[in-house]
């Protein structure tokens, strides 16, 4: 069985920067194309669009909004998919109940905000309670079927059916939206110039503050996670466990404790993402499958078990979804799916995965 030994590590296996430099040396053409794409994107965002371009792509406002929406949605997808990929990387458990954990977190967050009127504690409540649920699952169920990957996956499918119905029972089929707190409500002026009016007045893009803050938070979480995995002792143990679980257990590490911790943490991340999703969009039955699917596609694209892969995959899928829904509404879903198909066809192990 091939393994993805890449949690926290960039391609090339070294520290991030060295790996990236190595990649440029190995793939000069790809690096050139990547640079060109970034430059083009920057130009599209910063330049005053000529008329010709507006005829092709529509208003600049639409394009830049789609770009920002895609990036921030990618941040949300990253939060959901990280837990999924982390749990898989260490325990080989494809947790198809991950979407249920996300939805559960969303409902818990909503209930907290309703009860206390405070937004930030909702994250804490969702994280702790969903992490507890994950811990119980790992200790009561998955520990007893270690090594039986298919059976574990089937169990997670059964659990997702049961959870979905229980949540439908408790919270009903309504849509809930977690209200944005006052200090985050409203738009913020970005330095991105949309248009220069004939009278010399400059029009800047206004963008919802809460989305930017949440995106910044998810980037922060991603960086902290990367540091935790690459620079701390527990992170070292996790990396060792991803590479060779048996050997790690044999060297006296309390591996069951490690498993329980990682499962709880991954589940907690999904729960927190639920609060984010509830503020961004809304929570309702069916969102669990939607986010499960998103996580699946993200980790298939990025590389199962790889956190940088999850970040890249989340960004790509978020962008594909937003640009798809703006420019080709009836075929939006095909876009992210097409990315998955292309990755599977040319690099089946995922973009940022070293086998």
């Amino acid at each position: 069985m091939a393994r993805a030994r890449t949690i926290g590590e960039g391609p090339g296996g070294g520290a991030g920067a060295r790996g990236f430099a190595g990649w440029i040396e190995r793939r000069p053409l790809a690096a050139l194309l990547l640079t060109l794409a970034v430059v083009l994107l920057l130009w599209l965002v910063l330049a005053d669009w000529p008329e010709e371009l507006e005829r092709w792509l529509g208003r600049k406002r639409v394009f830049v909004s789609a770009l920002l929406n895609g990036i921030t949605l990618g941040g949300l997808y990253f939060l959901v998919a990280t837990g999924f990929t982390l749990i898989f990387g260490l325990m080989r458990n494809v947790n198809l109940a991950h979407g249920s954990l996300y939805l559960f977190g969303g409902y818990l967050g909503y209930a907290t905000v309703q009860a206390t009127g405070l937004w930030l504690p909702a994250f804490l409540v969702a994280f702790v309670l969903v992490a507890l649920a994950g811990l119980l699952l790992q200790v009561l169920v998955f520990r007893h079927m270690e090594g039986e990957e298919l059976r574990q996956t089937l169990v997670t499918i059964g659990l997702s059916i049961v959870f979905a119905d229980l949540m439908l029972w408790v919270w009903g089929g309504d849509f809930y939206q977690i209200p944005t707190p006052d200090w985050l409500a409203g738009p913020v002026d970005t330095p991105i110039v949309l248009d220069v009016r004939p009278n010399g007045e400059v029009v800047y893009l206004r963008y919802p503050r809460v989305r930017l803050v949440i995106f910044a938070a998810s980037v922060l979480i991603g960086v902290l996670l990367w540091l935790a995995i690459n620079r701390t002792r527990v992170g070292m143990l996790i990396r060792a466990g991803v590479d060779d679980r048996e050997m790690l257990a044999a060297s006296g590490v309390p591996i069951q404790l490690l498993f329980a911790l990682v499962f709880a943490f991954g589940a907690g991340l999904a729960g927190m993402a639920g609060v984010v999703g509830g503020t961004f969009q809304s929570i309702s039955p069916g969102e669990d499958t939607r986010f499960l699917l998103a996580s699946l596609v993200v980790v298939i694209v990025g590389g199962l078990g790889s956190i940088p892969g999850a970040a890249l995959g989340a960004l790509l899928i978020g962008l594909a979804e937003q640009f798809g829904s703006v420019y080709l509404p009836t075929y939006a879903i095909v876009f992210s799916f097409l990315i998955m198909v292309l990755v599977l066809a040319f690099r089946p192990q995922g973009l940022l995965s070293v086998r």
């Binding site: 229980l166 879903i333 799916f337 066809a345 192990q349």
Partner: protein
């Protein structure tokens, strides 16, 4: 119900230990089951015939295609319901339906084979994608394909009719028989289920099926022996799609419509539940699971309401049943029955010896 019964203990075999292998291969329970199924229209009402047995046979056939892939190929594919639904969609698009601006109105003898062909193509392509990576990835990739197809049909108005899908898709009338009438439709379902079952039983003993089982057990060794592992796996997906596609068309005819709900995540998972609960070990398992599922689906509502719960808690029942099966009897009801029989058989043998 006839399917679910384990059958009478093989008293004849116990009486004459020198029974031939051929007799042992076809147990009397199978003969009785077959006979009961053939004569079913004489005893069952139209409702039972179509809504219970017809539906169970259709779902069983789709689940059988999953059982073939999972049990003999080691690939748990969640795309089988999607392949079936794809065939249903194709029949609605190519043949006639209530959505006259989309349906092409081809005659059924052209629409049905082309629909099956396209669905097999779809299943083969899905398989080709899924076998790019092995093991546990299969379940993820096929689930992603199934979900993408579901969301696509729901979004796409121009070709797939959007959220409402197609209604008024009916079984044809030919040879002077109205195939949408209960008795002919029942035989149609029974006929394809029997053919599909027979095909699976035959294929798993044919060289291709044996090679597939070899690949399931040890892909590396089979590759070293010169077998093309990828080609065998993709061929298995094509064969499974060929089993599922006609069943999907029958399902569309049974419901009279095809909509995104038919290929949603729920039904996709239900097919897995049916196959696993019935038992992935043998081709008859999915049919046992399907009958149980259909009976639950129809009668559990009343039972749930009687217990003071809302009838909507059906999914909870299905989920719990699936969990209990996976946790306590991973080889499904068939495995349970077999173990019970072995225990019973062992006891009687000991009794006879003493």
């Amino acid at each position: 119900m006839a399917l679910a019964r384990p059958g009478p203990p093989p008293a004849t075999a116990a009486a004459s230990p020198a029974s031939t292998a051929r007799e042992a291969a076809i147990p009397p329970a199978a003969w009785i089951t077959g006979l009961v199924l053939l004569l079913m229209p004489a005893i069952a009402s139209d409702f039972f015939l179509v809504q219970v047995f017809g539906w169970a046979l259709i779902l069983g056939t789709i689940a059988l295609s999953l059982q073939f892939l999972a049990g003999y190929g080691g690939m748990v594919s969640l795309v089988q319901m999607t392949v079936a639904g794809f065939a249903g969609y194709m029949v609605a698009i190519l043949g006639s339906s209530g959505l006259t601006q989309i349906s092409l109105g081809w005659p059924f003898w052209l629409a049905v084979p082309v629909a099956i062909l396209l669905a097999v193509l779809f299943g083969t392509l899905s398989g080709a994608l899924a076998v790019r990576t092995a093991g546990i990835y299969t379940i993820m990739i096929t689930l992603a394909i199934a979900a993408a197809f579901f969301y696509f049909t729901r979004q796409n108005e121009t070709l797939f009719g959007g959220f409402l899908g197609f209604n008024g898709v009916r079984a044809p009338v030919f040879w002077g028989i109205d195939w949408r009438a209960p008795v002919p439709f029942y035989y149609l379902c029974l006929g394809w289920a029997a053919i599909a079952w027979g095909l699976v039983v035959w294929v798993v003993r044919a060289p291709f099926g044996l090679a597939l089982q070899g690949i399931r057990d040890n892909a590396r060794r089979m590759a070293a022996l010169g077998f093309d592992v990828t080609a065998h796996r993709i061929a298995a997906y094509a064969f499974a799609a060929f089993l599922a596609a006609p069943a999907g068309i029958l399902l569309t005819w049974l419901n009279g419509q095809i909509a995104p709900g038919t290929v949603g995540i729920g039904p996709v998972i239900d097919i897995l539940v049916i196959a696993v609960v019935g038992g992935l070990g043998r081709p008859i398992g999915p049919f046992v699971g399907a009958l149980l599922y259909v009976l639950l689906r129809i009668f559990a509502l009343d039972a749930l309401v009687a217990l003071g719960l809302s009838g909507q808690r059906f999914q909870l029942l299905i989920g719990l049943g699936f969990l209990v099966t996976v946790l306590f009897s991973p080889d499904g009801i068939l495995g349970l029955v077999e173990r019970a029989r072995r225990r019973g058989g062992g006891a009687s043998e000991r009794g006879g010896g003493g």
